[in-house]
């Protein structure tokens, strides 16, 4: 296992965590197979300000979600319908993508199939160069976060300025930070931190009130909106039959990004396609209600290709980039359901692990249960070996998921995949072989039980097993461990109950 992990830059920007007082013995324990998540999580757990911010956001989101879903009696049917639509779409994904591409091209738009992030960066960069673009405005898009589009464009194409226009994303960008939540990108920052970031940008001390900060952001962003040469958005949904891109926002920024600059580029993960326009009725409702606890978001936009003759607004040039980036290899596998995700963030809000750690502990673009599932699937286990284990498998994610993805079952399958690929480590392999041998043989189980009772005798203190080096240390460091009983149930049964 790696003994030192690269510290997540974003965790570094947070309030320094209290140092753990006790020495870390976990390398001796079963946790030795697990790498970076634990280190980042330990810091996050000790960060009380972070915890307050997460509590505030998730509490509000969960309460809002519950209220609007309870008010929708047909929610279970909608969820079922959404699942079925996704299932059918994935079975015919190539056909739906072609249909969507044809519809957009028929409206005068351009469509590009991108195999990976590199393809996306090249396409956008070259287009920007051809257009002589200087400023690109962007609305919030996890697909572009996933491929670190901003950093790569700015590195590879000099003089290109990319400006995030979702308020949270913009503040994250100014702070050199990354989103810690799919829907609330800077939920890890409190007002003090946000004021610091914006004051630094303003070059003057701004008062820490929402109005003043909002007004500053509005002025600054307005300049960018009006001078942008290209606008980039993601897509919450893409409709195959019409070629319509649907985006939902609460700030209206996506409208300025798509209507002011002459060029609009959409970066859409291929799994975001849905067959029919009428399917939106299920998905838009589920997304708004599950994500932000709204019946509908403030702005729900439908864009179908470039501005047509006689239309008053819309970009003159329209480009849809359909990005694969590891998605298509999940089709037809036992992990296909991971592609049904509509990025509402509900699983993060209800997850008791996310609740303690926040998003940056996951060390990946996507955090929470869905992040723990899709990061190893899209990037491989080497990039995210610990993430499938960052869950108590409580199933709250599956319960909250508006399209019914069995996230905790997918985590189990990922753990199994690690074992099958020999990534679980020798210590665990030996331990579970021993477990199997013992549990298959009642006689051996009984002998082990008696041996355990003898062995624990010198370790007992005040009715508990005292902290001992070895696999159980990671339990006994923070919790008492009960001893084996003097007589097992089977012994009591034999004696007569």
């Amino acid at each position: 296992m790696p003994t030192t992990e690269r510290l997540d830059e974003n965790v570094e920007t947070q309030k320094p965590a209290r140092k753990r007082e006790t020495e870390d013995h976990r390398q001796e324990g079963l946790s030795s197979g697990v790498g970076g998540f634990n280190d980042r999580a330990r810091r996050a757990v000790a960060d009380e300000e972070l915890h307050d911010s997460i509590e505030l956001f998730t509490h509000k989101s969960v309460a809002g979600r519950n209220a609007v879903l309870d008010a929708l009696p047909e929610a279970p049917e909608l969820r079922e319908r959404a699942y079925r639509i996704k299932q059918e779409t994935m079975a015919n994904l190539d056909r739906y993508l072609e249909q969507m591409a044809d519809a957009i091209e028929a409206r005068g738009g351009n469509v590009f199939f991108a195999g990976d992030g590199e393809d996306v960066v090249r396409y956008i960069g070259d287009l920007a160069r051809r257009k002589g673009a200087k400023v690109i405005t962007k609305s919030k898009s996890m697909a572009t976060e996933e491929i670190e589009l901003n950093r790569r464009l700015e590195e590879d194409y000099a003089n290109l300025e990319i400006v995030e226009t979702d308020l949270g994303e913009w503040i994250a960008q100014l702070a050199g930070d990354t989103p810690s939540h799919i829907v609330g990108p800077i939920l890890h920052m409190n007002r003090k931190r946000i004021t610091e970031v914006l004051s630094q940008t303003a070059g003057e001390e701004l008062p820490p009130d929402v109005e003043a900060l909002g007004s500053f952001a509005r002025r600054r962003l307005r300049e960018k909106f009006l001078t942008a040469d290209i606008g980039i958005t993601g897509a919450n949904f893409g409709v195959a039959e019409t070629g319509t891109i649907c985006t939902v926002t609460n700030e209206g920024n996506a409208r300025l990004v798509t209507s002011v600059p002459p060029v609009h580029i959409v970066v859409m993960g291929i799994e975001k396609v849905i067959p029919k326009f009428e399917d939106l009725s299920a998905f838009v409702q589920l997304l708004a209600r599950s994500g932000t606890g709204q019946k509908l978001t403030v702005y729900t936009n439908f864009i179908t290709g470039p501005r047509a003759e006689g239309e008053l607004d819309g970009a003159e040039e329209f480009h849809l980039i359909l990005m694969d980036n590891g998605r298509s290899k999940l089709l037809g596998t036992e992990f296909e359901e991971a592609l049904y995700c509509i990025r509402c963030g509900a699983c993060l809000n209800v997850c008791p692990v996310y609740r303690q750690t926040g998003g940056h502990a996951y060390g990946s673009t996507y955090s929470g249960p869905i992040g723990a599932v899709i990061t190893p699937l899209l990037k491989g286990h080497d990039e995210a070996k610990d993430l499938p284990h960052a869950s108590s498998l409580c199933g709250a994610c599956w319960e909250a998921c508006p399209v019914g993805i069995p996230l905790h079952d997918l985590l189990l399958k990922l753990r199994n995949q690690q074992v099958e690929e020999g990534l679980a480590g020798k210590a665990q392999e030996i331990a579970f072989k021993g477990f199997e041998s013992t549990m298959k043989r009642p006689a051996l189980y009984n002998i082990s039980s008696k041996a355990g009772r003898l062995a624990q005798k010198p370790l007992l203190r005040d009715g508990s097993v005292r902290p001992i080096p070895g696999p159980l240390r990671s339990w006994t460091d923070s919790r008492d461990l009960p001893p084996l009983a003097e007589k097992s149930f089977r012994e009591l049964w034999k004696e007569g109950i």
Binding site: V34, T357, R415, F435, P442, R479, D480, P482, A485
Partner: protein, 246 residues
């Protein structure tokens, strides 16, 4: 009514008194209880860690042992272990038609303890007295996979002298999660701390659950942080009067 008792391995080895209480409660209801002595563990620790082959091997042993007995139902004082057999045996054996069928047959007959008492025996009030202010923690498998949430509450609400309190975020996991507790110790402990904070706020002096594994985790943290909260399995509460009845 003849019941085969499925006693989880950690109850067998660490909390045998829970198994004893289950036997006594069932007998009081007129149920004939047998205990297949070849049983060991359901295999969940291996399964949850991704070691499906090992879990299947242990699962086969479990199927052999229980198929060798005659009974109406298998009753288990743990929502989690009951879920392993009823939901996750069919899951791990899905590509093995013979074992899949065997596991599905057994799955249909496995009942978590409170589910059996309320839904099979039709008993909601066991006529016991137990003084205290309690909160009930429902294990996650019992809550979500089994959907047996109302039954234990109903049984407890009929216990005379017991004040069953609401507590904040009661649906949150206790942080045990099997090997999760040792693989992710900091997060796991922080999760227990959040439960304990809610417990303190509720004013309860007793913590009750249908899963001894959740209780082992929460009690381990309670004791380490100096709490003397009483920690009881549901079966222990229903087993007998606490002697303080009027």
């Amino acid at each position: 009514m003849r019941v085969a008792l499925f006693v989880p391995c950690y109850v067998d080895q660490i909390n045998p008194e829970v198994g004893v209480s289950v036997v006594r409660v069932l007998r009081r209801l007129g149920v004939e209880v047998i205990y297949p002595e070849g049983q060991t563990c359901c295999g969940q620790p291996a399964f949850n860690s991704g070691f499906f082959d090992e879990a299947r091997a242990v699962g086969r042993h479990f199927l052999d042992v229980f198929e060798g007995e005659r009974f109406d139902h298998v009753v288990c004082p743990s929502g989690s272990c009951a879920t392993m057999v009823s939901h996750y045996y069919p899951f791990i054996f899905k590509d093995l038609p013979e074992e899949r069928e065997r596991s599905e047959v057994l799955a249909g007959r496995v009942r978590e303890f409170s589910d059996f008492v309320v839904n099979v025996m039709g008993m909601k009030d066991l006529g016991v007295h137990h003084k205290g202010k309690a909160v009930f923690h429902c294990g996650c498998h019992q809550r979500r996979e089994l959907g047996v949430l109302g039954e234990p509450r109903e049984l407890l609400s009929n216990v005379e002298g017991l004040d069953l309190l609401d507590w904040e975020n009661e649906e949150l996991c206790c942080g045990f999660g099997g090997t999760f507790a040792v693989k992710m110790p900091d997060v796991s402990t922080a999760m227990a701390d959040e439960k304990i904070k809610a417990l303190e706020k509720s004013g309860a002096d007793t913590l009750i659950s249908g899963d001894s594994s959740c209780l082992m985790h929460l009690e381990g943290r309670l004791r380490r942080t100096g709490h003397d909260t009483r920690v009881l399995h549901l079966a222990q509460v229903l087993d007998a009067d606490d002697g303080k009845a009027g």
